[in-house]
Symmetry: D2
Subunit: 393 residues, 4 copies
């Protein structure tokens, strides 16, 4: 093991990659099997089916062998044809970024953009769809992680379905941390992965694809093949009858298997509830510290990430460095447009436990003290604790 002079963090409270469940990291040490062997083929099919169970869809889930940013690029490349007008919904860095990919493949991209601490309103979408009946594909991010905000994809999805367009949803950092599934939001393509709320490692993408979306890709003359950017290459890869287009990431599939087991064994509702409780306790605590939530309204704050404004007069870098130095806890910066403006406390997977709200509040509070701020950490702990105790058991 490479010795690094920097000490490892003690507790990781980031918005992904996240601390993985030990049962998942153990699973990643399983033997590496040959992808053409009947054992692995049967195993792979089971994992694809188990993922479908977790995603609450019928068909085996599509597993792509790179992290979800790649899966999203591939979804854009495969789905969006040179004939398509795409409506891209941007309420944050990831939504905005998807628009660039869409523009690479689409005939035209129209966009609804809101401030990166706000959400897209269904009526904005309805209005745009009225004005642009030629929109064939709508793309949205459910939880724009760099903002810690949710978009109402369920309502938007119904509008898109009524319009007759296809709906592509990035649920990378919300699925498995709350009650969201492809059918809940009429998603034709729904993208997520094992490395956020499932508490696994990054390195794979999970995708569900509706029959309409497959048909659209088949009609897309520019849809890649023999390429990492192709979804269609992998359409039947779950089946023993089909060869893998290229070598699957065996160890990541082993980890995914365990991640799905962990989620289904514990019970999705139980998992969502502790994500929600942890986030509520954390939000109560950080606000009692005198900090301001980044989301413009608390109801759009994701249960999987608490984003807070960097206090006036301090920088994100100094807060993160001091927190790590004094307490060994680490949290996430913002990203791109939100970098420097906010800090993010992740509530995903194994740290989606109320005690970690207390860890976040006390160590962030202690850090602010160290940096010379007068903060009432006691009030913050009391607020977070009150939320936890009110939840009963």
């Amino acid at each position: 093991m490479t010795k690094i002079s920097v000490k490892e963090p003690v507790i990781t409270l980031t918005a992904g990659p996240v601390q993985a469940y030990p049962r998942i990291t153990r699973a990643m040490s399983r033997p590496v099997h040959y992808d053409f062997d009947v054992y692995f083929q049967a195993f792979y099919e089971e994992v694809a089916r188990k993922a479908a169970t977790a995603l609450r869809v019928e068909a085996p889930a599509l597993i792509l062998h790179a992290e979800p940013a790649v899966g999203l690029e591939a979804a854009a490349a495969s789905l969006i044809s040179p004939d398509d007008v795409v409506l891209n919904l941007a309420s944050g860095v990831y939504g905005k970024g998807f628009g660039y990919w869409a523009a690479r493949y689409a005939k035209e991209v129209v966009e609804i953009e809101v401030p990166y601490n706000d959400d897209i309103k269904p009526e904005q979408v309805a209005d745009m769809l009225r004005r642009r009946p030629d929109v064939a594909i709508v793309t949205a991010v459910h939880h724009d992680t760099p903002s810690g905000t949710l978009n109402p994809v369920e309502e938007i999805g119904r509008l898109v379905r009524d319009h007759g367009a296809l709906f592509l949803v990035d649920a990378v950092s919300s699925f498995a941390g709350m009650d969201i599934h492809p059918d809940d939001c009429c998603a034709d393509i729904f993208v997520t992965g094992p490395g956020k709320c499932l508490g696994g490692a990054p390195g794979l993408t999970l995708v569900t694809v509706s029959e309409r979306a497959w048909a659209h890709m088949e009609g897309n003359s520019a849809c890649p093949s023999a390429s990492i950017l192709s979804l269609t290459d992998w359409k039947n890869a779950w089946s023993k009858e089909a060869a893998f287009p290229f070598t699957p990431a065996i160890a990541e599939v082993n980890g995914l298997d365990a991640a799905l087991d962990a989620y289904l064994d514990e019970g999705p509702e139980t998992v969502w509830a502790r994500h929600d409780l942890t986030a509520r306790a954390c939000r109560a605590g950080v606000q009692a510290l005198g900090l301001t939530l980044w989301p413009v309204r608390e109801e759009i704050a994701a249960p999987t990430t608490t984003a807070i404004r960097v206090p006036e007069g301090l920088t994100d870098e100094e807060i993160v460095a001091a927190m790590r130095d004094s307490f060994g806890t680490i949290i996430s910066y913002g990203r791109a447009e939100t970098k420097g403006k906010l800090l993010r406390i992740g509530h995903m997977g194994p740290v989606a436990e109320p005690v970690y709200a207390l860890v976040a509040v006390t160590t962030l509070g202690g850090t602010l003290k160290r940096l010379g701020r007068k903060v009432d950490v006691g009030a913050a702990v009391d607020a977070a604790t009150a939320v936890i105790l009110a939840a009963g058991t």
Copy 2:
């Protein structure tokens, strides 16, 4: 853990994915660290530098976060500009396949193709370069795995360098199993990965890029960015100063670290020697079984894979199935053009040990017996053993 009705193989003797060293699978169970944390950044730099040490180059190696087939596609996409004439050398399925990627990006692809059991001759390359002085990029596969054959990339590399072209070498399944490094073959882009002779899991690509190749990519107006197909996005990712373009596959990097340690700790020369000895013992054994090597001349047989013709009157499928059923050993089929024509015994990583030549010979021999063939397994074992014992210690 998903229970699969198919029994796991007992011994995997495939040409990749391969049985991983236990120390590598253990490493894949290390904690998943946050990619923006100072610990992981320092760790990542160390791994990139350690990879450079193994590859015997100066600059930290480029790590791409998907398996080498993706890395090769990305290399084609990034390096080959619409102005480039590419000479593609095809002595097997992988060489041929690279030509299709090259054609996607190049002005023109010229090709030298030889039968898939033979190698490219340096004089063929010299001749072509004389005829086509406009060739700007030459691409070759060192070990065309689906054929188990080597190409003389050292000699070819010198010709290419003299010509002033760039040389892209796929050494995915030869590097770390024999004495081949970027500088040995004047490679401007040299692609390999942890999942073959390094004995790790598939899921990453290792690339070295010469200054000339970086300059060529910078001059390539079609070079992808914000894309899994971009090499330039990741150019400086090893440095703490640069952000990762997307989330690295943390667990795979942990595994790579251990794979490089295993290789460097044991000593490259020692590792190559046991790959070579195992392959020589295996070739002696299978020939004494009455089987025919696939390579047209034994000197082009790779030390990392022994490819043999499927005996007349039998199919690859029935041999593989019977071998697995009676002995629990599994070997590789051919692929695409070579599927059905040959079988491959891998000598990579932990099974590049002479005893596994005996395992291959005895279980393949026993399988042929089961399928009604008269084979002299005793002679085969004697032949393999003689090679092993002659190696002394």
Copy 3:
């Protein structure tokens, strides 16, 4: 990880410790839980019950937290009172050794001893019990590992039961490798462990105790308490109601859990069958090599260990060293009285697979060649293969 200049063995074919199943070593990396926590207490009870299922007894199995040699010492210390006449059956080093422990605690030890390549005959026991009606406890080793021989404990057990004595059986290296359970041999104390045929690590003892044996211990005024040598201290430790007398070996219990799962998931009959087949193939092979089995009759050869005489003119040490050096395979020496006289090839756990009979035969054969012997390895492989293929599937 400590770097050792000696290379690790490539394949371990010993009579214990054995190569563990990967799923068991993975389980040993589970989190270490606090023994007084309700989770661990519930888990421990489940493991004790699962062990009972495997052992085919009703009561949760007794788990002792040290390897079976310690468990056997503790059984002697706890069961044998100063009033007891013990009949010890010695057909090997372990049987003989148990007599010394018995003598430490008993009023008198009488012994039946046979040559260490032979077995105890039921009629010998019957005769002795007639002559010594005061025998209260009979002790036997089912598989005397240093000899690779079995004793007919089923028949002996019935005689002991009829006599009214207690029967203590050491089944450490036979249980889980063949069809033997406490009730099969009327055992009042039956001792085994996870580190042999269950394919786990050494470090725990599994014991079943009959009601009669518990009663005898309760009447034994010299029965230890507050001691590692006490069985009674641990009698109720499986129950949440009872405290652990001292800290259990948490990681070993995690491993035991996985070992039992592996055994029960695969199916005991299937596991026994592959131990048997491997041993039969191995015995056929080594005899065809011209070697002599150590057991005086093949029917008493254990299906879990093949013991062979060291050929005239060679030493065990030179054979083991040369075999390791040329092939990386390791096998077991004899022990105490049998050291220097025999070598042992283990068929336990993951290497109880027919292919490993071929590994043993070819590498032992090759080693004998290296040491100057004329051996017909081909005939040996043919003999072993014939056994394997005859087993069909």
Copy 4:
């Protein structure tokens, strides 16, 4: 993996078994090697020498293959002869308990006993040694874990050395968490283990033995042999020349190797400092919660365990259950005499990090609130934080 209806704890803050470092649990999944193989023998010697380095002694450390309670019983059995008068120092449950073992083997045991929240005073020992010049062996516990209190073994050790007696020290739960080594306290037998402050699993004992102590055991006609209770059986087991008396717990030795690496790589002084800081922060916090430390004076409170009185009107059981239920954190009960009277927060190994003092204080505080107590958690967090921040970095 056995599914247990009880949820696993989220954070374990117990006084042993403790949460192990991931690198140690990973090491426990290393291959199980054969104990008679040259690789394992060389490895074992290295581990014994590495343990000596950590213990700051010359001779390879003695490794016993069961947890330290067994190691202590064995030390008593081996060292104490029927001719020995033993002075046992009892300031807690473990010290008292050792006296019972001593009484099993000694001619006579004299004892100094103090209340279980106090420490033994050197002058008490001096006085007793004056009165009983025939005392040949003095036995003490450094950190009596069930009380969370330290005894001044350095001063006592000098008195014992001057007296000419042998000194046996139980440092199981202090070594590696603070600056204590055999030579610091003139210990002739010094007992510890990997499962407390080294942050590993329980299951082994580490012992150092002085030449004088070995000589005493050699003169002890009652010293066990061929027994788990024998230290002399294992005296030379570290050496390749000597056979292991019984099978070592291979996986535990693998874990010990990693535990020692973790300790030595980080640097003992650094490890002790974070144990100390965590304990000081925790003590400040729990006192600010209005709780009373169990130790009669804070300066005898161990840096590895904070023991607090169970508040009037509450029971230990209800506190532990409510804390686990609301927050997922678990702490230790008292034991035997101290059970019901105190609760213990462990600061050992990976949780000897200041942030866990905050976890302990906030979750214990929240629990008291849940149970109807008025506690000022804010003041407690402030007190703990002040200690942490004062430590600077």
